[in-house]
Amino acid sequence: MEEIHEKKIKFLEETANRLRQDVIKMVSAAGSGHIAGPLGMAEIFTAFYFHILNHKPKQPDWPQRDRLVLSNGHTCPALYAALARSGYFPVEELKTLRELGSRLQGHPHRARLPGIETTSGPLGCGLSQAIGMALAARLDRNGSTGSPRGKYRVYCLMSDAEHQEGNTWEAAMFAGKNKLNNLTAVIDRNNIQIDGFTENVMPLESLRAKYESFNWHVLEINGHDFYQIISAVAEAQAIYEKPTAIIAHTIPGKGVSFMERNYLWHSKPFRPGEREAALKELRTFGGKIKSEHE
């Protein structure tokens, strides 16, 4: 991973903004889909697809690529936008989200679209699958000294609420026991789920203490700060004895004032005018600049 500098951060911020606009357009065109999560994770997706991942968008099957597993598959609008913008498939295809015959399924399907490492949607299974990939990497690495085989890293993006699924903790136990240092989880700690705020529905705190007790290295960051995201991943790459969990605090619906922190925007159809209002806010960076669309 290359060093991060001012100019790159500016580029990443603009890209995240573009991703947010893509999400609003996609979901409103589809008539259904998830909004708050993808908006909140825009910086995380941007950081991975435009800086962190060792990947070749034109060669999605490149065997030495880093793997990114999206465990909270419902946030796939942001994933699709990141894949398209980084070159995996044409941006025009984004508007086909959820359409009959589209490669952009409502929840990502591995067979349909290049760049999807695994099918997801049902929560709690992504970390385990990421573990399987990390184990495969370790097997390939041990079986071939000197070659680049098996040196890829595996990242798993997760939601906070999916930690209510038992499968997640089975995975955490296994990764801790096996010291999977090529595995990094990034948890979108946005505090919301369908039925309300996580701490009211089924409290997760202390998430940090839980992971630490399972023998993980834990970092906590502001999930909208590129410097923090990238530094945390760099630290995870340097930890040898444990897998790392990065708890990324985010604001659900970030970027659109009337969506922020509102769990009802987890997944909700747009009312007339809301799409345009959201896009205007994003295009003008909350009124800070004039947009050519005005």
């Binding site: 399907h109 591995r110 709690g124 299974c125 385990s128 990421a130 399987g132 097997l139 499968n167 296994f174």
Partner: protein, 336 residues
């Protein structure tokens, strides 16, 4: 008479026929598969000894992953391995895997098309003393309903070994079903085994005055196929000619063979150590209803759970003994 082309054991009806659990055949097949292909890996959920993966674990420790009592994690880790160039076998009791991890198998293995082989052990009520909680009697139905999964139920330890090797070879998700108790080894190395192709094990004896045309087709899978052969032998003495078909591959079912034999006989009995709904019986009924409806009788568990007991006692009590197969044959004959 035994179909000579099936090359069944010449000790098949002896009192001292060799007995060996199908899970042993799995264990041996696994070691051989592991030796042939270094991408074969094995995961287990705390039952390494009883599901016979211990030998693989000892021989290939780097390729064995103990998951502890966590079948959901076991299936999903395997899913990740299976899309990363590995050929994972997951091994546990069929009540829990598939069972507890059915949805993970559906989403991350079947729908995701990950090259995972699921070994479900302690299948059927002949699991015995552990009781109903550990006797898998709905697993064939659960797996058969899923798209993109093959379902294979070997009839003895030799077939179990062949099935395991075949599974390592064939691309795609496969469910393999094994029993706990030792059961008669009645096939041989020469007995044909091709996934998807049912094999005729018994045909009516051709001879003076004897009817050459079979009157009933008995379709079975798993170790009850041996009971079916014993029943066929008894029925032959009563001049009832049957065909016994080893339908080890429940999905994809060898519809062609089954329909053509249904046409020849006009009556069918299915035999399995499983609920009568949804397993082999269900698959056969679906195929015949669509192509050539004939009367069918189902031998299996009749919508009830099992209980603790000795395997032989349980099979008798729950209607899956030799006598029950004969009764079913006679009943279906009356319905023709």
């Amino acid at each position: 008479m035994l179909n000579p082309d099936a090359h069944l054991s010449n000790k098949i009806f002896d009192e001292d026929i060799p007995q060996k659990p199908t899970r042993d055949g799995f264990g041996e097949g696994l070691v051989e598969a592991g030796g042939k292909n270094q991408n074969v890996v094995v995961l287990c959920a705390d039952v390494t000894e009883s599901t016979r993966v211990a030998d693989f674990a000892k021989k290939f420790p780097d390729r064995f992953f103990e998951c502890g009592v966590a079948e959901q994690n076991m299936a999903t880790i395997a899913a990740g391995l299976g899309v990363s160039g590995k050929i994972p076998f997951i091994s546990s009791y069929a009540t829990f895997s598939p069972g507890r991890n059915w949805e993970q198998i559906r989403t991350t293995i079947a729908y995701n098309d990950s090259n995972v082989k699921i070994a479900g052990h302690h299948a059927g009520i002949s699991t015995g003393g552990d009781g109903a909680t550990h006797q898998a009697t709905e697993d064939i139905a659960m797996m058969r309903a899923l798209p993109n999964i093959k379902v294979i139920v070997p009839c003895d330890a030799i077939e179990a070994e062949k099935a395991t090797l075949a599974a390592a070879h064939i691309w795609g998700p496969i469910y393999l079903r094994f029993g706990r108790e030792k059961s008669p080894v009645f096939t041989t190395e020469k007995t044909p085994f091709v996934p998807g192709k049912a094999e005729i094990f018994w045909v009516p004896r051709a001879g003076r005055g004897q009817a050459k045309k079979p009157q009933v087709l008995i379709v079975g899978c798993g170790h009850l196929l041996y009971q079916a052969l014993l029943a066929a032998r008894d029925l032959e003495k009563e001049k009832i000619g049957t065909v016994v078909l080893n339908s080890h591959t429940v999905k994809p079912l060898d519809r062609e063979k089954i329909v053509s034999l249904a046409k020849k006989t006009g009556a069918v009995v299915t035999v399995e150590e499983h609920q009568v709904s949804g397993g082999l019986g269900g698959a056969v009924a679906e195929a015949l209803a669509e192509h050539y409806p004939v009367p069918i009788e189902f031998v299996g568990l009749k919508n009830t759970f099992g209980e603790s007991g000795l395997p032989a006692q349980l099979l008798e009590k729950y209607g899956m003994g030799v006598s029950h197969i004969k009764v079913a044959v006679k009943k279906v004959l009356r319905r023709k």
